[in-house]
Symmetry: C3
Subunit: 353 residues, 3 copies
């Protein structure tokens, strides 16, 4: 965490420096909170009015940023200021937490579990019989790994994650604190004596490079598998029901719920608190906006809003229409009066004749 | 997991076989994913177009299914293909995980807790003083059972469930991973100095045959009890606030939220992400559809949609009306022109005279 | 839990007694469930019709309560019946669970952690190197405290809470079961090869007197801090994303989601299941009603409903307008007929001439 000059940082991020090249930077901050020795960035157009007023000595800005550099400060023009900022953040970040290889003496590991010497197993972790852990994978404190579950290499399983029996996890998977994988799907046959549980005998499969946030629930399949494909990223507190399939590189934002057997294509985005009914298909690249919901298939690349969700153009039209009703009612009232007058005038003439 | 013939399976499920009686079945799969040695089923009308194209050798179909059996394959006609399928699933399922009686040496059980020899207590479970566990009940790894809490017989408490002090759990209750029972209700008295906590001195009571999903939160009562009655089934990530009462055999789907002191009748269904305000009553058999919300009492057997929720007929009418505004506005515009013309024609005549 | 007379209770709460002063009270209950030896209260106008029919011997009522006391029973008139009731609840409540000072022998505490003798550390808690715990703070069973995290005095950290590295918690903070603090924010840069993780190097800071419910997720900042200010109260299953700021004394009800970098002012209320997009500001004292959602700044003291949220007056007007469309369409139909008739009459005359 040694200070760096604005020139050194411009070189690091491959940006074009304007203004003070010798400014000493000691940390990073948002535009609003930065002090003169901080570097900040313009990553979202919403904040463009904050760059010049900011106290930040150095600001990473997009190449098109038009405002002149105030005296004594510096702009660094970048193709992607947000990506560049991440590099600078790492310069000043505290060292990443690391996990030494080995099994903590307070872990409960079944003798029939297979754990390589390069893996880390934290205190109070439970690893049951016939579970298999990959090279260099970190199993955090209080984690539960059920029987016959297989986890790949270079995974990072944070504390209090539970993965029940027979699930399959790929390589480089990250699972944040408190996420539960492989609980029974919600399935009953309802009769006169109440609800009889349908056995949930399938598994959950997470492919390579998947990341799951904190406190996500992914239910095991009724049969076959609940499947999150390669590179998909899931935010906190998401519900993924039995037999759901999430396509490669899809993004599922916090508190989304996906009911049973629904399938997402590749590169789908579900924004926060969106909800999908069961047994539907969401096409490649489709976007469900925040708080939207649907029980119908969604075509590829559609952008859907509202609940029940409609195409965003239709949503905008509906909103526009909703707002014009008042005016429309006024217009109709005027028309009623005019028609009444016309009728009166015609009737008057009829009488006059 | 020995293979079975289509004839053997038809006998097992009590169905009527049509087609190939000697087909060897080695597993189960969905219509879309099945291979020729798999059995599948038609449990949802949505998939009826997939039966004949499926590669599945054998398909369990409803008695009314009209399509002829392709050569070499078999249909088994059943009154309830989904229930029949569950029986077949169990034939080919891996053995269920079982839990031997006894207390794991790494559990922390207070000497004043009462645990029968038939119960299982997993590693790192904590059972506090004066807690009582029933016969054959399974307490999973990392479970926390607070002081004086009583749990019935034949319960299955999965890892990382926490049940705080003085709660009461019936027989045959299943609680999935990460669910928390008996945290304080959210109650404050707000004054000029901020929010003062209202003591939450009540308990949670779960009656016989209740099942709670993963990561459900059930708050203890301010006084008296938060109460989930017999046979009710709760899905993942549901919020149940203090003093809520959930009637017998009700179904509460994932991510529903129920605010304080609200009472559900018998056989109520709350679909995914629905929300109920506090201090209201939901009548027997009522249904709140997905993402609906209400702060008003709901009559028995009503089917409610939207937020604020209205009867589903009214919801449909509102949706229909919303879509006709554009056309209505066009009609009004035409009327305006026509009225203007009529006025002009009348005025012209008046002038002519 | 000795019985008290109605007179003793009136003195305790500083209320004015009417009716039977010698009634023996042995417990508390809601109006609906109370027995003759119970005390109840009218804390919500919704229940005013239940006071006289209730079996409760004694009822705490607001000073304006108009109904006469039935024979043998008692009213106690109070400025705040709900606050008074809390005092009586404590009279009859079982003793609060207490936690003796000391570190449980089954906890895993790093020798480099600093824990005062007055603190309690429960079984299977993990406290990593350089963590600092304040005087009299309770660290429950199965809690995880990461490296260099600092927790103040008199905090109550319930079982299965996880607080990752370098976070900061003030004094008198309460965190309920299963809440996770300091997981990575959800941030990626998306390129042709998928989503690349943006390092999340900041922390979470909880100021004095904050209370977090069960199973809340508070993500660490991308840089700087995610910040919950003094006296704010958060209910269960809430999602708080990276770099969010929650102002003093704000109330966030269950299942709310707040996306990254959004800032709440002082005394904001977010009702259940509300959702806020990222990078917006919610002004002091503003209220987002249940299930509402916004991606726009909200002015101070506004009361917002719906998704997308509008001022509650506009929301009411929209609802009113939505319901008048049907009638409006009928009116327009009548007008069409009248105009058609007028045209016909004029045309007829033109022909006659």
């Amino acid at each position: 965490m040694t200070p760096r000059t604005s020139r050194e940082i411009a070189e690091l991020v491959g940006g074009r420096l304007a203004g003070n090249a010798d400014l000493m930077v000691t940390g990073v901050a948002s535009l609003q909170e930065a002090q003169p020795a901080d570097l900040s960035f313009l990553g979202n157009d919403r904040y463009k009015g904050q760059v010049t007023p900011s106290a930040a000595g150095v600001v990473l800005v997009p190449e098109s940023f038009p405002e002149p550099v105030p005296a004594g400060r510096a702009w660094i023009f970048c193709a992607n200021p947000s990506a560049a900022f991440s590099k600078v953040v790492m310069l000043f970040a505290p060292p990443t937490v690391t996990y030494p290889p080995g099994i903590h003496p307070l872990a409960a590991v079944d003798p029939a579990a297979r754990i390589p010497a390069s893996a880390h197993v934290g205190p109070f972790a439970v690893i049951e019989a016939d579970a298999v852990i990959g090279e260099r994978t970190v199993i955090g404190a209080h984690v539960f790994i059920g029987r016959e579950t297989r986890i790949g290499a270079d995974c990072l399983i944070y504390p209090m994650v539970a993965i029940r029996e027979r699930c399959v996890v790929g390589d480089r998977v990250i699972i944040h604190i408190g996420t539960t994988i492989g609980s029974d799907g919600f399935g009953y046959i309802t009769g006169p004596q109440g609800h009889t549980k349908i056995p949930q005998t399938g598994i959950v499969q997470l492919d390579d490079d998947v990341e799951l946030g904190a406190q996500v629930a992914v239910d095991r399949a009724r049969f076959g598998k609940t499947w999150i494909k390669r590179g998909a990223k899931i935010d906190n507190l998401v519900q993924i029901a039995h037999n759901v399939v999430i396509g490669e590189f899809s993004l599922v934002i916090a508190q989304v719920g996906i009911a049973g057997s629904t399938r997402l294509g590749r590169g789908v985005t579900l924004a926060g608190q969106a909800g999908l009914a069961g047994h539907i298909e969401i096409g490649d690249g489709a976007i469900m906006m925040a708080q939207s919901g649907t029980d119908k298939d969604i075509p590829a690349k559609a952008i859907m809003m509202g609940s029940p969700a409609v195409d965003r153009k239709e949503f905008a039209r509906n909103q526009f229409n909703l707002h014009r009703i008042g005016k429309l009612a006024d217009t109709v009232k005027v028309l009623q009066q005019e028609v009444a007058e016309l009728k009166a005038r015609l009737a008057e003439r009829d009488n006059r004749r």
